[in-house]
Symmetry: C2
Subunit: 406 residues, 2 copies
């Protein structure tokens, strides 16, 4: 029997209890031993809940119990999660975490600590919910140099963009719709401003390139400025707007990373990733393109990933699973140097705009959308972000700018 403790009895914590209940028998076979939840740590009480018998409020009970071999941290937030996880490892316990804030900030350090103590620090559930992506990156794509990793990593924003596209809703209505369905928080900033996706791509980039990518360094735009008119243009082009979190290694080996809405067409593998689903596209220099798709959030899918990590930890008691994520910082390329095509909409007199644009951008691809009048829209040739900024200084009436990936 392998004893574990679960820190935090929120959505994911209770999901972990549920998954071990539903699939206990098959999990036992795969782990080679029964997984037993000895403690659940939470400050709250849960009268009537079966876990009341194993509920504790003091982390030290768990830390001081040598029978606990694996600690599952599903509390979220950096503190006190970080202190608890570190102490648990110093006490010889492996840790499984679903906590993207913790992993993005302290991943490299906690992996080092695990290695030093012949333990494991596993965090499959921190990115992409149930989708296997961390383990494939660490263990399956080891023959490749990763050239690009691009994900739709936030289900809330993907749901909002899907609804705007399918039902012609504006942003606010689609957001309220998502909140009603429980897909968006009452304070949706972390999702809609792109902060959630930013931490997740920081984690994936660190693993893909083996060095510390600080999430604060990643240029990030959310989806709050996307309007139903933008979506109408996208449709007219046979395109969709998706919030991409992306990290690309250029031919000079420098990496640039960005979270931003982009226009893509049907030939992109992430085009069909809709609603609350997540998708992660990886390009390797020998494997070519691979894509992983599934539920990016949700109680049971996320708990499934957590429990799979518990199984792995249980199978590797006393043996560290090698993960390359050096604490050495990876300096990202200045965003200003990145090239892109840009979709731009301008209000005001069409002929004037057109003349202005021709003078400043040269040849562009004009775009129209049904029922959108009194504005001029176009796609630039491939230019750098810096060039775009400079050129936009000369334009008065820009109402929207979106990066184009086709």
């Amino acid at each position: 029997m392998i004893n574990i403790a679960v820190l935090g009895y929120g959505t994911i914590g209770s999901g972990v209890v549920e998954v071990l209940g539903i699939n206990g028998e098959s999990i036992k076979k795969r782990a080679g031993d029964q997984i037993n939840i000895k403690y659940v740590l939470d400050l709250r009480e849960f009268p009537g809940d079966p876990i009341m018998d194993i509920l504790v409020h003091d982390i030290n009970i768990i830390l001081e119990d040598p029978e606990v071999k694996v600690v599952v941290e599903v509390m979220g937030g950096v503190e006190p999660a970080y202190s608890f996880v570190k102490q648990a490892m110093l006490k010889g316990k492996s840790v499984v975490s679903s906590n993207k804030e913790l992993v993005a900030k302290h991943g490299a350090e906690l992996l080092d600590l695990a290695k030093e103590h012949d333990l494991n620090f596993l965090f499959e559930a921190s990115v992409g919910g149930g989708i296997p992506i961390i383990r494939p990156l660490n263990q399956s794509l080891t023959a490749d140099e990763i050239v690009e990793i691009t994900g739709i990593l936030n289900g809330t924003t993907n749901y909002i963009l899907s609804k705007m596209s399918e039902e012609g809703l504006d942003f606010d209505t689609a957001l309220q719709n998502a909140q009603r369905k429980g897909y968006a928080e009452r304070n949706p900033a972390a999702d809609v401003e792109g902060h959630d996706a930013r931490r997740k791509i920081a984690i994936l980039s660190s693993l893909a390139f083996g060095m510390q990518v600080d999430f604060e360094d990643i240029y990030t735009e959310g989806i709050t400025k996307i309007t139903d008119t933008d979506i109408r243009y996208a449709k007219a082009m046979g395109a969709r707007i998706k919030l991409f979190a992306s990290s690309i290694r250029g031919s000079d080996s420098h990496v640039h990373a960005m979270v931003a809405p982009v226009l893509i067409k049907a030939d992109h593998p992430l085009f069909s990733v809709n609603e609350v689903f997540n998708g992660i596209f990886v390009r390797g220099n020998v494997i070519g393109d691979v894509m992983f798709y599934g539920s990016g959030a949700g109680k049971l899918p996320t708990a499934s990933a957590v429990v799979a990590d518990v199984v792995d930890a249980a199978k590797h008691i006393g043996k560290n699973i090698w993960t390359i994520w050096s604490s050495k910082k990876l300096e990202l390329t200045d965003i200003n140097q990145i090239q892109n095509r840009f979709f731009i909409r301008m209000a005001g007199d069409i002929d004037e705009s057109k003349a202005e644009v021709q003078k400043i951008f040269g040849e562009v691809e004009e775009v129209t959308a049904p029922d959108v009048i009194s504005e001029y829209a176009f796609i630039t040739q491939s230019i750098t972000e810096l060039e775009l900024k400079e050129k936009k200084e000369y334009l008065d009436n820009v109402v929207s700018t979106i990066r184009v990936r086709f």
Copy 2:
């Protein structure tokens, strides 16, 4: 330094040499040690090729060299691959194989042998080329009971069906086209009759359900009977025809498996898997739906998967990686009991056909396609394969029957 030997210097074998050449440095980091190809075994000579210095014609040189820790079997076919692999393991060497015939037939036995001797038998490349699917099944989806695993597992047939759909080609022309491009063999039977996909779904099913699924037990239909007229109907329905290799556990826990063309619509995660790409859809009872997508064949993608297995084997010298695939046979449900909707086309007088169909099938969904005349087409309600057979006995003019997955 970890010495390996490569058995077979064909497409994949030379790909393995190439990948280790291109990415040697990063592979070394991930494996924790340099991977050195000490021998390549092939009956042929390769004058002028750099591997001439390490080419051997006698397996015993490899078997008797205790420095060789990992043997890479990329010869294909059951014999002599099986004897070589078995002898290598008896000599204490881990084995990596890309050989679906070998794995489908002897996987359970070779995994047992590996376990007994604290070695590893790894075969990521045997299914889905470069796509990580074997390791995710074994190590990432361990918290789930697998309910369904359905793949587009053969790139050749997917290419042919894609070309028929995109360019309106008939089967023979699309096949010739595939042969010209090197996507289909001169003797294409293994692909177009479904035998290749059959072995692959047998391997995936064995891993998903932990018991031996004999490929001979899997009902298999190829794509040779699919016509351009079928494709025209598919398009009219907004559907596509795909060769599915599928294994599903029913509510009674019994598993049925099948390789056959099916009609799917855009809401199926495999709908966008076109050209030579492969996709594998997995449904778990807690994770929900996940999908893996990538190059299902090709020299470098397949070699990438082989080398990733070599890295894993190198990291686990002396320690077996647990894989559940018992040699106990899984008895599949009789195909006759499986329920499906069926798309059926009938030649001859439309009104007569219609009357006949109504009598025999009751209410059906009629289907028409542009420019297709003088025939009656419809989709049945959900009935068993046995019911279908019985009902079809009463119909004279059936020209086509395709299973429907919507």
